[in-house]
Subunit: 222 residues, 2 copies
DNA sequence: CGATGAAATGAACGATCGTTCATTCATATT
DNA sequence: AATATGAATGAACGATCGTTCATTTCATCG
């Protein structure tokens, strides 16, 4: 979507005028809008707020996005495409043990949310601020991501590795649980990122009926 | 907080003029604002929107609430006080088995969220729309609710009934998981409320290392 | 160097925002 | 019936909203 090409070692394109400056501003707008939308909500943030953070006037934003709504849609679409692509790169292949794939999913999800908390929060909370057309498209992307986890749970249920009632419901429950980390995580807090990851991964495993460690097993003491 | 007294069989108060009409309007404002804030977000809803839903002009709202902000604060405070009181009424007493208390918590939480989805959503999502003073007060109420679950997890860990790493983190994770039901629940959907409750209760139990049913046990077949 | 065109500007637009206020309406008490 | 009082009204306020547009700035290419 959008242009999004030459950033460094630029040469080919750009007929005249400026070249990479516009793209730099567009990215700055994205970053500013992401932070502000996540902090205050889409409709509580004005175009002038975004422009001020970029260091530009509100009217300049319209050289890069046709409307405020399109900034939000762009942020969500970009985030969800990257998220799903990164997940597919992080997941073991489909024939790996479901327990391993679930653990990888949980770890990926929490870790990704540490780094992209604003984008994640936005994409889950501001669907209601989108016009119907944009909303349907973004919702489909979100559904594709959720389908990955649903598939893992279904396979685990089918193979007997997991002891669960309903893969669809449990997928939503797990995603909500893992996503919640962004609401309380504090970089200066008591626990390191790695420690928090491990706790969530272990919870996810137990929630599908797995023992303490990877596979099945039982009666593992402490 | 506020007046909130005589509604029926009124007699004592109300010096002159009208009596219960004002309180009825105030409640209608609360209901309208709750639905609109939950659907569109605090700052996307105007006082005129709320008034229109009540069947009154915007200026009439100021006979009942000093400002828009106070409607939101009132909704959150009322909700959180009721929520915590209802939880305390639903929880087995403190010397009951932690597994039983956890199951009761999970069932209560999901069930309450079915009925009060709007208020719940509001109180978890619109903290950022509150002024610092209101935010601190509401946040304390939320913390009191979360502390109930944290206490259950700590007791289960202490007694050895639960196999968990960190009660504080797991409390936040469980609440996020249970609260998430409001984001996808559809009254016309595939599953009944009772079925969904049971799935969440079972997941909560497994997530703290319990077997399929209430107590510990292990190697439970299916 | 002058031409070119994207990027940024400042002013302005119509609309809508939260809120105020003098006034009117409606009701319960005396 | 007269009165007192809370509730609702309609108009208006200053501010701010998203957006448009003619103009200016400025880095690049021929």
């Amino acid at each position: 979507m959008e242009a999004f090409a030459d950033k460094q070692a630029g040469s080919a394109s750009a007929s005249a005028g400026t070249t990479a400056r516009g793209e730099a501003t567009r990215d700055a707008i994205r970053r500013a809008a992401e932070a502000l939308f996540a902090a205050h909500g889409f409709s509580a943030v004005s175009m002038r707020d975004i422009a001020a953070r970029v260091g530009v006037r509100a009217s300049a934003l319209y050289n890069h996005f046709p409307a405020k709504q399109d900034i939000l849609a762009d942020l969500m679409e970009t985030h969800l495409l990257r998220l799903t692509a990164a997940l597919d790169a992080a997941l073991p292949q489909a024939d790996a043990p479901p327990a391993e794939r679930l653990a990888a999913f949980a770890r990926f999800h929490v870790r990704y949310h540490f780094d992209e908390a604003d984008a994640v929060f936005l994409s889950y909370m501001e669907l209601r601020s989108l016009e119907p057309g944009n909303r349907a498209r973004i919702n489909a992307l979100r559904g594709a991501y959720e389908a990955r986890l649903r598939g893992i749970l279904r396979e685990g249920q089918r193979s007997g590795a997991f002891r669960i009632e309903d893969p669809a419901v449990e997928a939503m429950a797990l995603i909500a649980m893992l996503t919640g980390v962004t609401t309380w995580y504090d970089p200066a807090g008591r626990l390191s990122r790695a420690a928090i990851e491990n706790i969530y991964v272990a919870m996810a495993a137990r929630s599908v009926g797995l023992g303490q460690e990877g596979e099945a097993s039982c009666s593992s003491g402490a």
